[in-house]
Structures are given as structure tokens and as C-alpha cells.
Symmetry: C2
Subunit: 213 residues, 2 copies
């Protein structure tokens, strides 16, 4: 499918370029050089040019890059020109918060369903959608062309649910459970381990903070 393997270090940075270009564009900036963008983003101009040239020559010598054009190109590279349907497994606080997050829709991510094993939650609504019982999971995924499952359940149940999702043909899992999932090749997993993130913050506080006098 792909001509060249792009390193995940580059993929990691793409959304950040997208974010800055969106901002520039909203501010009516028409063109930008790698030098100017590098100052804004605090990275090297070299890195910007290298990163972009993984996907093609989007700039023009002597001119720089057209902001709007580059914005749309990166959007396409990220697959944001396509719609992605997602469901949320786990209607707890975090699951409901993500379901209510309307900004995802603007990037083509469509909130299509939410599930929970707790009978007391089943039937309640999150942004207009009913919380469904876990028994309906496989069928729902198949019949509604779901691409992404958002896992906001305790780690104990995560492995089993992941397996069921893979069995129903899900393409990707956005994993908020505090455990690493084991899925077959070709199924994409993106982890958001919040407590790992908080621990890193703790490390940096304890090792790099200026002591107050």
C-alpha cells in the first residue's frame, strides 16, 4: 500500500504541523517559509523540510509553502479527508467525556455508539446515543462499519474486550486502559496512558524544577 515506510517519529510530529498550519490559516497567513515556521514551532527548519519531503515536494523554491495548501495536504496524509466511525467501550466519566467531545467530529471522527457492561448505565444517553449492553458489541461493529473503538474501561476487562473487537473486524483501538494490548498485526493501537503521563510529570518536577528559595 505504501511506497516508503515513514518513521513513527515523523508521524508523531504531523498533527503538530497540522495544528500550527490551521492556526496560521485562521489568522489569514498565506505563505510561510520553513525558517519562519521553525521559529514558531521551536524546531529546526531542516527537520520541517525533511519531514514534509517524506510525502512530496509541497513547497516552492524562493517562495516557501502555501499555508492553506499545506494544511490540506497534511490533512489528507493524516486521513482526515475520510470519515471514521468510532464507538466508546466504557460509559464511565472518561468515556462520557470523550463522547461529548464534539471537536472530534470536525476532523471526521463520528461518535457512533457507546457500550457498558453495567446494566444501570445501559439505556442512559450520551450525546443523544443510548448506552448499549456489551452483548450487542460484535453485531454493532459489523453492521455500522465501525473503524475505531475507544477503550475507557478498567484494565481487568481490556484484553478480553480487545479480542472481541478484533474478532468483529475493528481497524483500530484508542486505548485508555492502563494496560498494553496484544493485537494482531494490522490492527492499530494508540495508547493514552494517563497515569504514565502523570508519572513523567512527577519525574520532571522532582528532577528539574527550580527550587524555590
Amino acid at each position: 500500500m505504501e511506497e516508503k515506510e515513514i518513521s513513527q517519529a515523523v508521524v508523531q510530529r504531523l498533527p503538530r504541523y497540522f495544528r500550527y498550519l490551521d492556526e496560521l490559516r485562521n489568522n489569514g497567513v498565506e505563505r510561510i517559509s520553513s525558517q519562519e515556521l521553525s521559529e514558531l514551532m521551536k524546531v529546526t527548519a531542516s527537520q520541517i523540510r525533511q519531514d514534509l519531503n517524506n510525502f512530496g515536494g509541497f513547497g516552492q523554491q524562493g517562495y516557501g509553502y502555501n499555508v492553506d495548501f499545506l494544511y490540506h495536504e497534511i490533512g489528507k496524509i493524516l486521513g482526515l479527508d475520510k470519515k471514521h466511525h468510532f464507538i466508546i467501550i466504557g460509559a464511565g466519566n472518561l468515556g462520557r467525556a470523550l463522547g461529548n467531545y464534539i471537536k472530534f467530529e470536525r476532523r471526521g471522527f463520528i461518535f457512533s455508539g457507546i457500550f457498558d457492561q453495567d446494566e444501570k448505565l445501559v439505556g442512559s444517553f450520551v450525546r443523544g446515543l443510548p448506552v448499549r449492553p456489551m452483548e450487542e458489541l460484535e453485531r454493532f461493529v459489523r453492521e455500522n462499519d465501525i473503524d475505531i473503538a475507544v477503550l475507557t474501561i478498567p484494565k481487568a476487562g481490556a484484553a478480553e474486550v480487545a479480542e472481541r473487537l478484533v474478532g468483529s473486524g475493528i481497524k483500530a483501538i484508542w486505548n485508555f486502559a492502563h494496560v498494553d494490548l496484544n493485537v494482531p498485526d494490522g490492527i492499530q493501537v494508540e495508547n493514552v496512558h494517563l497515569s504514565d503521563s502523570l508519572m513523567r510529570l512527577s519525574y520532571n518536577i522532582n528532577h528539574y524544577s527550580q527550587e524555590k528559595t
Copy 2:
């Protein structure tokens, strides 16, 4: 303050070691070799030994590592033996979800306050704590020895709030706003850009998913 600069690549991995050691320990495993751990975590044994030796010799030749001892040592390195008080700025869905997240307490992160600029939210409660108006921010941070501010507000207000936090002597910001913050050296920032994460997932779906036949 520090003897040696530890690369952020290593810091990034520390919480994951901590997570696996916790698991092993809960399963009653007493000792483990870098080889065994490497198979479990799917990294090289070399990397594990290199990473750990940044902080000292925790193992013993011919034996391996004592799980419980290593767990506690990494905990100390991460600063989890100390208490950290945090406040949440932004009592929307995400802010409230994080406030209700009791697991953080187990690692020494104490939910100490929550703020919002919306008058309608002020006075409502999140896990027993009242939502406070933004005017009280600086004073509260100073008087309650707050280390960490969790930013769950729209990007428009983020820069201003960050500045106020820095002015009140906050040590660290856990940033969920979709914008990069500009803070002085010595103030730690850990970003959780959820939409960036979702876009990476989208990229990988579109570039690496097995096509279904």
C-alpha cells in the same frame, strides 16, 4: 540538583517499567531477569539494563532483579514516594472526569481543587470539592501548596491561565488544551493532546491497515 542528565527517551519508558513491575509483584513474582522482562515487555534486555543503570545498579549478577525492590526504587525515581497536590482548571466533562479519577491518589497525586470561569458551574461539586471561581486561583495555589495544575479548558484561554499559574508559583502543568504552552524554564509541562493522538491513529489506519477482502 542532578548528577547526570537522563534522556527523555528513558523517562518516557520508566512508568511502563513501573507498571509491569507492579503487575509482577501483584502476581507474587519475586525475581526477574532482564531477559524475562524483555520478553514480557517486548523490548530488548539490553535496553532494560541500560535504562536501569542510569539510576544505579539495582540487580545482582547471576540472580537478576528483585521485583519488589526494583518496583519501589523506580517509584522513588519517579517521585511517587512524595505527595503532589493538583488542581484542575476547567470543570467541563474532561475536568470532572479527571477529578473523579481516584486511582491518581494511590500514586500520591491529591485532588485539591477545581476551578471554572462559568458562574453556573461555580459552587457545584466534583468528588466533594466545590468548583471555585477563577478569581480565587492565585491565592488558592499559594495557600495550599499546589504543585500541579491540570488544564482542561479550551485553547483560547490556555495561554493566559498558564501565565497566571506560573505567576502563582505552580511547578508543573498537565496540559490537555490543544495548544502548546510557553512557560519559563524550570516549569514542567506534559501535554496530552488528545486530538493529535487520534490523528496519529487515523494516519496509521490509512497507511498500515490490512485491507479487508
